[in-house]
Each structure stands twice: as structure tokens, then as C-alpha cells.
């Protein structure tokens, strides 16, 4: 599971106790390690490390890395070890540079900004990069005659002419970058090698790069990361962290390093550095330590399962090199004494290898080995790497830790920085940069500098929405972005009767079941829900007992099955959900007994459960005004299952009615390597069929909110997925050409906005829209802050309209997006993403975590997965 999926799958941490197992209100918690988990870059090799490989069948060992190391680009003085390709030379286009989608949309050529709402003064975490006037980077080709092989020799020969080419340069052996232009287009230089050979060097200008060229942007990013390195920060994954001043949380054996994310990009008008505080959670124990404590906790029998559950998917650091690896598997058949095949074909044991290579003695020879798949080809080698648990340190949090309330609370104190403090930390970083002589010298030589004050601009707060519920209309307090109180006791738009339902509980929870029932009887009448007494069924606290009852008692006329679970053991929950979502498609509600055990909250909990059950049976709660007619709104999100069979699941949700209160939901289960989009196409077809069944026509407008797009995947989306959507629409009929809008939704963005209120910095209120200054000129994009947070900084959501034939004004697209953030029925408040995305996420998460195959289509017209 990705960190992101995890973040969303976490149980709620609100003042309200959780209503159901695994049900998360979408109000987002701040992620302790923002951009870390999902995109772990495999780093460039440190000097001599040679990876021990798996065993013959896994792969041949990598060739010694030394030989394959991409030739680095030598940069003058302080940045000597800079390589233009950055570490390891495997740079991914994380920022989706060069995907220019705006140019195809004529109606936003002039302007992509909205106009409604009232102005708000904002600052952000972007800092302008300034360069000398007429700054350019000059690219030269360097040729040698006679030809010189060794890069070191080539550099040495070239740099004999430092008085000509200058002290500041970047050279990779054939391409030379200079901050200044040489006098002539072609410069001939003569050098003599130390054994007396005369060499002619021809330096030819090949390119004059403007500050905004992609190569330059890449160049700035590398320079900046080097600056962080010069400030003695440690690179872990993509970011740099300060190891010297860790926050130690000994209760949980955790350590938190404060660090920074950084990216330099061309924004609307300027090139800016976007930097954010990032926290890296590290653990003071090795994987072997964790295995030992697991063993003592669960015993021999469940040990291997427990290890797999706890460890697979985690990122580890090794004792001997500066790379991070993801644990993909645990190989119990091997141990450190097992041998692997080295690049030269010889066999060697891990014990021997680590002794020889790093002088490390492996003390436990019985431990299994960890397997990490290489994400991408390295040279021509692809496969997996074997790691020794004893030599691996864990990073990040496990699911178990995330569900540990106390741990998360302890962590939050350190990781959720309120706006003022966050800005202060960033200010400190910029201050370090200004103060460090070496850093300043390097920047000066390249003619670059950073503003030490972040950019300020005005955003807009669009007006709040009215909530409609059965003829009544409500305003909500924008400060809380929540209407729980306002709508309490008001009839729902569509309430589903509970004429026949089951309440299943264990003997211990008999009292709890009765309390719940009484509370439900109290809260449901005002909602308009007609409820009969359920069949109360007592079961043993075993998975099989629950299943047997379900098999015997669930019939097609049952409205809903309610299970009170005594522990958060996932297997029981999974078994119940699997049975009731596939074999016997009946809505179900699972709740932990603990949730119901507190008298002071039981009414609130019962209210929430009643609403949730109503949705699961096909009810509707509230609506907002949707001015567009004949519109179908689609939400897509992905979940990547790590534990069972490496599946990917795409949740697909499409609106069915004008008021956008009913949804059609399907999902695509795809095994590794397959393209999700083919399945999505089928989903879209069925969704259109269903829409036309409900509305007696086809929609004339379709909005697709596409979540779950990783950094660097935008290109694929634009060139592959969107054409497939269009294909699909074409296949419906020749005369059918609805207007299509595809919007990529991204929650994990580096941008943060702070409202300047009363001389201080606050979180901007919900409804804040930003579509200038920090957006990208080549995109039709905007940010919306739709949710509120209690602690820390609110994270804006980024929307990138990659395809749009709607002809709607940007303002309308922004407003529609914000409206949809009000429509998630599991949370009577505004959430971070449009409701269809959150529904799609919930569906994909349930299937990925518990069901592992496509649920029964009988359920597809209701929100059974809430």
C-alpha cells in the first residue's frame, strides 16, 4: 500500500469516535512524511558498493556499480561532485515538465483564472529564484584531438585553461556548461599531457539556454540539492534531513528528523523554489529487532504472517550504503549463509560478502533474507536485491503504528507544525543559505540567488454552499466547514427503511448491542428512517461463527447486516465484507464494540451509523445546488495492493442523477503489469448505460476527476487514458459527442498557503482558490483549500484540467469542484477532494484491503463500501 492510500485508510481521529471499522472521514490528517513513501527513488550508488543479489533464479548480481556509474558532471568548486543527472543518474520527471496541456484548450489561452468570491491576502512557501539580467546558461561541446578516453584526463586537460573558461563550470566529459559566454563560438585550446602528448581541445558553443529551459530548471534543482548537502543535510529518499538535531520519541522507539522538500520550477511568472518542511520518521531498530519482538508477541505459528503484514511495503535504510529499499518479500528459505551469484559468476554467501565488502559481521545466521524488487532497470540488469534484516533499519510507520492512537498523538506534536512555525522553519533554511559562505559563493558564481521572503499574492474565497435537505436549506459555519449540528434531526432526502435487518454480536457485547439498538430507535425517526426491530443473533467470537450465521440467516429481503466486532482483527472484518460484497450482495455495517461502549458519545455515534447505513442501502442525505444540467460526474482513484498478489485496483464512481446524490460504483482489479485504463473504459461504458437508464438520455457533459496519478505519470494520462475515454464515448454512438472535462486531482503537493490575518499567519479558510502565481503556465490548473484542519497546516488540493471541451469558464469549473467537495456522505462537512474521488478511494481501498476481487454488481447503485 502506498503511504497515501494508508493515510486515507486510517481510522478517523476526530473528536467523534469512529463509527465503523476502517471507516475514515476524509478530513485529512497531515502526513508526517509528506512526499516520502510513495516515490522512493533508488539512489545512485556510493563508491564501491556492490549489491549482493538474490540467488541465481532471482537475478544475476549487478555488475560492480563502479563501472556502470553514469559519468557525473563535474562542477566547479563547492559543487565538485555535482552531476547533471543527479545521484545515480536516474532522474525521473517528477514534475511532469514538458507536458503542455493548456495549449490545446483555446478557451483558457488568455486566462485561466476565476473571478468569484472575496479576496484574501496569502503567502506561500515559494521563493523566487533570481538571476542576473540576461542570464543564460551556455552549453558547449568539447572535443579532443587526438581522442582522449579517460574522463578524468579530459577534465584535467580542459581545466588547464581555467583562465579562459573561468572557475565556474560544469563538465561531464563532453558537455560543458558555463555561466558566461566565451569570446568566440569555437575556441581552440592546446594542452599537453604529463607524458608530453599535445592535445587540441575544441570548445564549441552548441546552445544558449534561457533561464526557463528545462535543462536549466533541472540544473537549478541539482544546484539547490547540492546546497542542502553543503549544509550537512542527509539525503533520504528524495529529500534532505538534518540528522544532528533529531526529535526522539523513545516510547515508540522513533526518531523524527526535520528536513526539507525542494523543487524549483517555472511557475506562472517566475522560476521559484517551492520548499516545505518535511519530517522523516526513522526507527532506532533493525528489521531483525522488529522480527524478534514480533516473534515474542505472536508466537511461532503466526510469526511469518505477522512479519509479512508488518514489514512488506516498508522502506529500509541499510547500514552500509545510502540507499533506500522497499521490502517486497521475505524469503524464509534462505539465510545469511545462502549464496548468491556475483557479477563475475562466482558464488558467495551473504556472510562472506558483507565481511569482505564492508567488514560487517552478521551475527544471526538464522534470519531470513528480505527481497526488494528493483523498480527500474539499472544498466541492463533487472530483478531483485536480497537484504539482510540485521543490516536494515526501518523508516516510516507501519499500519499498526498508524492505528496506534497514542503514537500518532505523540508524533503529531512534532510533525504538525502550525502555519507560523512552519514558515519560521522555512525562514531558517533560507537563512542558512544566505549565511553560509560556501553556498553563497557557489550561487554567486552561477549568478543566482533566492529571495529570502516567500511570495505573497491574493487568492479568492469562493462563497460557501447552501446545504439542501428535504426542502430545508442550511448555511454552515465556514470556520468549521461542517454541518453536523445544523442538519441534526432533519429528514434525509431519501431514507431507506430498515424493515428487516440482522444485528450480530458476541455474548460479551450483548449490552452494547442493546444500547446501540435503543439509541438507533431514538435517532432514526427524525431522519425519516423507518426501523423495525432486527433479528438479534448472538455468535461466538470466531470468524467461522460469523460466517455461518451469515450463510444461514442472510436472505435477499434483508436490508442490512449489522455486526458488532469485539476487536479490530482484520481477518474477521475481511471475511464478513468479502462474503457480503461478493457471494451474497447485501449491505453490511461493522462496528467495534469499543466504539459503542461510551455512554457519553453513543448518541452521536448512533446518528453517524444511521446515516452511514442509510447510504449503504441506497439512501441520499443532502445536496448542494448543481447548476449544470445533463451532467455526469466521474471519480477515479487507484489502490495498489502490496500484500496479496500485487494487484492494483481502480475505483470508479459516476453520478446517476441531476442532483448528484446517487452514484454508480464499480471497480477494476488488475494484476501487475496490466493497464488499468482498459478496465476503466468498460466502467465508463456501463456508467453511461446506467445514466441513460435513470435519465432516459445520455449526459451531454462528463466531468472526470482522476485521482491516484503519481508524479511523472501525467504524460501517460494525457496520451493514453484521455484518448481511451474519447474512444469509449465514440463507441456509444456516432452522433454522441458529449463535452468532456478531465481533471487530475492531486492531494500530495508541496505548496502551502497561509492567510495573513491580523498580523499573523493562519490557515486559509475553506473555499480558498488559488489560480495565479504558483500555478504552472503550461497547464490549466488551480488549487482549492476545501477542508479545515485542527492542527498543523492545511494542505491545498491541486486540480489540473488536462482536457476540456466543456467551454465552461475556469470560475465555473472551480466552483463545481468545490461544490463536489461537499457531497461526501460519510462526513457532514467539506472534504479535501471532490466526493466522487473519495468514494472511488473508499471502494478501491475496501476491495484492495479486504475483498481482493470485484464486488457483486448488484450493489453498484449504492454506496455499500462507505
Amino acid at each position: 500500500m502506498t503511504g497515501r492510500a494508508r493515510a486515507r485508510g486510517r481510522p478517523p481521529r476526530q473528536t467523534l469516535p469512529p463509527a465503523a471499522v476502517g471507516d475514515a472521514p476524509p478530513q485529512q490528517l497531515q502526513h508526517p512524511q509528506q512526499l516520502q513513501q510513495q516515490l522512493q527513488q533508488l539512489h545512485g550508488p556510493p563508491a564501491q558498493s556492490e549489491e549482493p543479489g538474490g540467488h541465481g533464479h532471482l537475478r544475476a548480481c549487478e555488475a560492480p556499480l563502479q563501472e556502470r556509474r553514469p559519468e557525473g558532471l563535474q562542477v566547479s568548486s563547492g559543487l565538485q561532485d555535482l552531476s547533471l543527472r543527479d545521484r545515480g543518474g536516474r532522474r525521473r520527471d517528477f514534475h511532469d515538465l514538458g507536458v503542455n496541456t493548456r495549449q490545446a484548450m483555446v478557451h483558457v489561452q488568455e486566462s485561466k483564472t476565476g473571478f468569484s468570491g472575496k479576496m484574501i491576502k496569502l503567502t506561500t512557501n515559494h521563493f523566487r529564484l533570481t538571476s542576473r539580467p540576461q542570464w543564460a546558461l551556455y552549453q558547449y561541446h568539447v572535443g579532443y584531438s587526438p581522442e582522449m578516453e579517460a574522463r578524468r584526463l579530459r577534465s584535467a586537460l580542459l581545466f588547464q585553461h581555467e583562465e579562459t573558461i573561468g572557475k565556474t563550470h560544469a563538465f561531464d566529459g563532453s558537455i560543458l556548461f558555463l555561466p558566461k559566454k566565451l569570446e568566440n563560438k569555437v575556441t581552440e585550446l592546446f594542452s599537453r599531457t604529463r607524458n608530453g602528448e599535445d592535445v587540441k581541445i575544441t570548445v564549441t558553443l552548441t546552445n544558449e539556454l534561457p533561464p526557463t529551459s528545462p535543462t536549466c530548471l533541472q540544473f537549478y534543482n541539482i544546484i539547490f540539492r547540492r546546497l542542502l548537502k553543503m549544509l550537512n543535510l542527509q539525503q533520504i529518499g528524495r529529500n534532505y534531513y538534518n540528522p544532528s538535531d533529531p526529535v526522539i520519541i523513545p516510547n515508540h522507539r522513533l526518531m523524527v528528523w526535520l528536513g526539507f522538500t525542494s523543487s524549483i520550477l517555472q511557475y506562472e511568472e517566475n522560476i521559484m523554489l517551492c520548499t516545505d518542511v518535511s519530517h522523516k520518521v526513522l526507527r532506532g531498530e533493525t528489521v531483525l529487532d522488529t522480527m524478534h519482538s514480533l516473534h515474542s508477541q505472536v508466537g511461532e505459528e503466526r510469526f511469518r504472517d505477522a512479519c509479512a503484514k508488518e514489514l512488506i511495503g516498508l522502506i529500509v535504510l541499510t547500514k552500509y550504503n545510502n540507499r533506500t529499499y522497499r521490502i517486497d518479500d521475505i524469503d524464509w528459505d534462505n539465510n545469511p549463509k545462502s549464496t548468491f551469484r556475483k557479477s563475475d559468476g562466482s558464488e558467495m554467501s551473504f556472510v562472506e560478502y558483507y565481511k569482505k565488502q564492508y567488514n560487517i559481521e552478521i551475527s544471526d545466521w538464522m534470519q531470513p533474507v528480505l527481497i526488494s524488487q528493483m523498480k527500474r532497470k539499472r544498466g541492463n540488469i533487472q530483478g531483485s536485491v536480497a537484504l539482510i534484516p540485521e543490516l536494515c533499519s526501518l523508516t516510516g510507520l507501519t499500519d499498526k503504528m498508524r492505528s496506534d492512537f497514542n503514537m500518532m498523538k505523540d508524533l503529531a506534536i512534532h510533525t504538525r507544525l502550525p502555519p507560523e512555525q512552519r514558515q519560521r522553519e522555512l525562514g531558517r533554511l533560507l537563512n542558512y543559505i544566505q549565511k553560509d559562505d560556501n553556498v553563497q559563493k557557489e550561487l554567486r558564481n552561477w549568478g543566482l540567488s533566492f529571495d529570502n521572503k516567500s511570495v505573497s499574492f491574493t487568492g479568492r474565497i469562493v462563497q460557501g454552499e447552501k446545504i439542501f435537505q428535504s426542502g430545508a436549506m442550511f448555511d454552515y459555519n465556514p470556520q468549521f466547514a461542517d454541518w453536523t449540528k445544523e442538519t441534526r434531526g432533519v429528514p434525509l432526502i431519501r431514507s431507506m427503511p430498515m424493515d428487516s435487518w440482522l444485528l450480530i454480536y458476541t455474548r460479551r457485547n450483548y449490552d452494547v448491542a442493546n444500547t446501540l439498538l435503543q439509541s438507533l430507535f431514538k435517532v432514526t425517526p427524525s431522519m425519516g428512517i423507518h426501523m423495525n426491530r432486527p433479528s438479534m443473533i448472538e455468535v461466538d467470537d470466531r470468524t467461522e461463527a460469523y460466517l455461518r450465521v451469515l450463510q444461514q440467516r442472510v436472505t435477499t429481503d434483508i436490508n442490512i447486516v449489522f455486526c458488532i466486532l469485539s476487536s479490530s482483527r482484520k481477518d474477521k472484518y475481511d471475511a464478513i465484507k468479502k462474503y457480503l460484497c461478493t457471494d451474497c450482495p447485501i449491505p453490511s455495517q461493522c462496528v467495534l464494540a469499543r466504539t459503542l461502549s461510551k455512554p457519553q458519545t453513543i448518541m452521536t455515534v448512533a446518528t453517524k451509523i444511521a446515516l452511514q447505513m442509510n447510504c449503504k442501502m441506497g439512501g441520499e442525505l443532502w445536496s448542494v445546488e448543481i447548476p449544470l444540467k445533463q451532467v455526469m460526474i466521474v471519480g477515479i482513484d487507484c489502490y495498489h495492493d502490496t500484500v496479496s498478489g500485487k494487484q492494483s485496483i481502480a475505483g470508479f464512481v459516476a453520478s446517476l442523477n441531476q442532483s448528484v446524490t446517487r452514484w454508480f460504483s464499480r471497480c477494476v482489479v488488475q494484476s501487475r503489469g496490466q493497464e488499468l485504463v482498459d478496465g476503466i473504459k468498460t466502467c465508463l461504458q456501463t456508467a453511461l448505460r446506467n445514466w441513460s437508464k435513470w435519465n432516459k438520455s445520455l449526459p451531454s457533459r462528463i466531468f472526470v476527476y482522476r485521482d491516484g496519478v503519481g508524479d511523472g505519470q501525467l504524460n501517460t494520462l494525457v496520451n493514453y487514458e484521455v484518448p481511451q475515454f474519447l474512444d469509449c464515448l465514440k463507441s456509444i454512438g456516432t452522433d454522441y459527442s458529449p463535452r468532456l472535462t478531465v481533471i487530475v486531482v492531486k492531494k500530495r503537493v508541496g505548496a502551502r498557503f497561509f492567510a495573513e490575518i491580523g498580523g499573523g499567519l493562519r490557515n486559509p479558510p475553506p473555499g480558498t482558490v488559488v489560480d495565479t502565481v504558483v500555478t504552472r503556465p503550461e497547464w490549466y490548473d488551480f488549487f482549492v483549500v476545501s477542508q479545515t484542519v485542527k492542527n498543523g497546516c492545511v494542505a491545498p488540493t491541486h486540480y489540473n484540467v488536462i482536457y476540456d471541451t466543456s467551454q465552461l469558464k475556469p470560475d465555473h469549473v472551480q466552483r463545481l469542484t468545490y461544490k463536489l467537495c461537499h457531497m461526501y456522505y460519510n462526513w457532514s462537512g467539506i472534504i479535501r477532494v471532490p466526493a466522487p474521488c473519495q468514494y472511488a478511494h473508499k471502494l478501491a481501498f475496501l476491495v484492495g484491503q479486504s475483498i481482493h476481487r470485484e464486488p457483486n454488481l448488484m450493489l453498484s447503485d449504492r454506496l455499500y463500501y462507505l
Binding site: 526522539i248 523513545p250 552500509y320 497514542n406
Partner: protein, 372 residues
């Protein structure tokens, strides 16, 4: 020599493992054998030998020197501590420093080393530099052991494509006799003994050409010079420090304290966890509950007795769990870190919540059960 015969060899000769690795391995074996604490590598180039040596646990000070700063800087970051070094600070301390300068110059930063290695260095020295070299290394630095390796020119006839020298920057390549006479003379002059060996065995039938790389290991015959003698030497620094990394170590109070606090709290948590789950078993059984009605007080009474008896048992009182420091100290990991009980108390003072008399770690469990 028969030309064909020679040709044959030039085709075949390829060292496995590669010669540079054999040289490094040679140094490492030496380090393993003599366990020097301070090691300097002269002509450290891309720092690959230093990188290898940083994993040798006996070494506490590593220094590199090279005439070319660029070549050192290219890979010097590999000598920086890794994140894991911060996560699990090592028992030993380690400082790695890189200097930019010439082996023909004396700098006080090179004093006090146990082992100085000059791997494939001397053949790069100009005549004037080579002349000053013995005085700098043997006279001034005067480490207990010096290792010097250099190509054996007699072997060159077996190497393909070697015209004059093996590397264009070599100023000379010596035969075995030339190297040995220089080494013996140097050793005699500075009161060292020298042993000759090498790496890269010649092919069978060609033994007389000797090793491909010839090595001289010099041992100082007189005991360590005192500080007073060193202070008379010129103390002016001429090298430029280009890199310095101090590894986190438990020798540093800051890291030790963090490690101890973590371990103490973690150990205490484990004990508490065991204690609580025992209690839960006890109170979870509904039948027992109704029969005995075990209250908190009764339970702690029971434990209280144990405390009197052993003064080591953890106990619960009201909403607080007490875990005696003595118990925690008896855990091997804590014990090893602190050494003495007094040290333990000193290190955690003010950092860990203790009972009023300071004898036990205290946890409040009031809110814990609600959420778990």
C-alpha cells in the same frame, strides 16, 4: 625471451580479483592484523581505500591526502556518515578528514598516526618531491607502520599495451632491485625495518619477474615519540582541509544519552506491556471477575509484597505503573550502554519521568486503555 611465449602471456594476464582490489585487501589485512587506531592514506585519490577502511572497527581517525582536490571531492561524500550511523551510533568514534596538499610538505595534522599507506603513490612524484618524501613520511610523520606500493617494471613485459610506463603520469617505474635499494636505504636512514612482498602473482614459469605490484612494509624500530618531541616540529599548517566528517558515536555524551533514554523507556515499555497483559488476562475473565472482584488496590497489594521482598518487581498503583530502574538496569542492552547504575541515573535525570524517590520509571496508564 621468445616473442611468441611472451605474446601468449600478454593475452592471458588478468588479475582476479582486480589488482587494485588486491592492493586494498592487502592494506585491510594489515589493519586487521595490527589494529591501528589512526590511519592516513597519502595519495588517496578517489578515496576508495579510505571508504573501505571506514568499515574497519579499530580505526578511529582516518585521513586522506592528495595533491588534486578535484579528484578527492568527486567521491568524498561517500565518506560521510550514513543516516543509519545516526540511528544506531556506533561504540567507536570515527573522524574522517581529507586534506589537499603535497607529500613533499610537512603539516602537523599528519602527526601521531599508527599506519600510513602510500598505495601507488611514489611513481607519480617528481624527482624533487621523491627526494623530500622520506623525510616527510618517515622523519616527520613517523608512524609505526608505513606501506608503500609501486609498479614492478620487470613485470611490464607481460602486460599488453604497456609501452613505457603503465600510466602516462608515472614519472618512473622501478625494478625489484631499484625499489628495494631505495626502501632499504630509507629504512636505514630513519630507523625502520622493511619487509618486501607484493600482489599480482606472475604466471607459472615466469616467477622471477616478481609481483606485478611490489610492496614494502616498514616498521618503526624505536618507540613512539613523545608529545614534547612533536611540539618542536614546525606547527604551521600547509594543507587545506577539504572535508571533515565526525561520525556519531556513543563516546559522545549526547548520543549516549539519547541511546540510553531510548533503551530505558523502551525496556520499561516492554515490562509494562507484560505486566498489563497479565493483569488483563486476570480481569478479562468475567467469571473470575464476579467471584473475586479484584480491585486495583488488591492487585497492587499483591505486587507490593513482592516489591518489599525483591525491590525489583514492577508494580501498579492507581493509574501509575512503576518499573524499578534496577530492573531496567539488569537488561543486557541497558547495562552495556551505561556500565554502572550511577551512570544510568545520571544520564536519564530529568529526561525520563521517575517516581518521587527516583528509583523507578513511572507511566501513567489512565488514558491508554481508552484508545487501544
Amino acid at each position: 625471451m621468445d616473442k611468441n611465449f611472451k605474446e601468449e602471456f600478454t593475452q592471458i594476464i588478468k588479475f582476479e580479483p582486480p589488482l587494485y582490489k588486491q592492493r586494498h585487501q592487502f592494506v585491510r589485512d594489515l589493519v586487521e592484523k595490527y589494529k591501528p587506531k589512526k590511519v592516513a592514506d597519502l595519495g588517496c585519490a578517489d578515496c576508495s581505500l579510505l571508504w573501505m577502511l571506514k568499515f574497519c572497527s579499530c580505526i578511529e581517525v582516518l585521513a586522506g591526502l592528495d595533491i588534486c582536490a578535484n579528484v578527492m571531492k568527486e567521491k568524498m561524500h561517500t565518506l560521510s556518515p550514513l543516516p543509519v550511523d545516526y540511528l544506531q551510533p556506533s561504540e567507536r568514534s570515527l573522524t574522517v578528514t581529507l586534506h589537499h596538499g603535497s607529500v613533499a610538505h610537512k603539516d602537523p595534522c599528519m602527526l601521531g598516526f599508527d599506519l600510513v599507506t602510500c598505495i601507488e603513490l611514489i611513481e607519480h612524484l617528481e624527482e624533487s618531491e621523491l627526494k623530500k618524501f622520506p623525510e616527510v613520511v618517515f622523519g616527520f610523520m613517523a608512524p609505526s607502520i608505513v606501506v608503500i606500493s609501486t609498479p614492478n617494471s620487470e613485470f611490464n613485459c607481460l602486460l599488453p599495451r604497456v609501452m613505457l610506463y603503465r600510466h602516462p603520469d608515472h614519472k618512473f617505474e622501478w625494478s625489484q632491485a631499484e625499489f628495494q635499494s631505495w626502501a632499504l636505504e630509507t629504512a636505514r636512514c630513519y630507523d625502520y625495518s622493511v619487509e618486501f612482498t607484493g600482489v599480482g602473482h606472475p604466471p607459472t614459469g615466469m616467477e622471477k619477474v616478481g609481483f606485478c605490484t611490489q610492496i614494502g612494509v616498514f616498521f618503526r624500530k624505536y618507540p613512539q615519540t613523545g608529545e614534547s618531541v612533536q611540539s618542536e616540529k614546525p606547527m604551521e599548517a600547509v594543507y587545506k582541509t577539504v572535508f571533515k566528517a565526525v561520525y556519531p558515536s556513543l563516546k559522545d555524551e549526547k548520543y549516549l544519552q539519547n541511546a540510553v533514554i531510548s533503551e530505558v523507556i523502551f525496556t520499561a515499555q516492554i515490562i509494562k506491556h507484560r505486566l498489563m497483559s497479565k493483569r488483563e488476562e486476570y480481569s478479562d475473565d468475567p467469571e473470575r471477575k464476579s467471584k473475586f472482584q479484584p480491585s486495583m488496590d488488591c492487585f497492587s497489594d499483591y505486587l507490593g509484597k513482592l516489591v518489599v521482598e525483591k525491590n525489583m518487581e514492577p508494580f501498579v498503583s492507581g493509574n501509575e505503573v512503576y518499573i524499578p530502574l534496577r530492573t531496567i538496569f539488569s537488561f543486557p542492552k541497558v547495562n552495556r550502554l551505561c556500565g554502572t547504575f550511577e551512570k544510568l541515573c545520571k544520564l536519564i535525570a530529568g529526561k525520563v519521568t521517575l517516581s518521587s524517590d527516583g528509583s523507578a520509571v513511572m507511566f501513567n496508564i489512565e488514558h491508554e486503555n481508552e484508545e487501544n
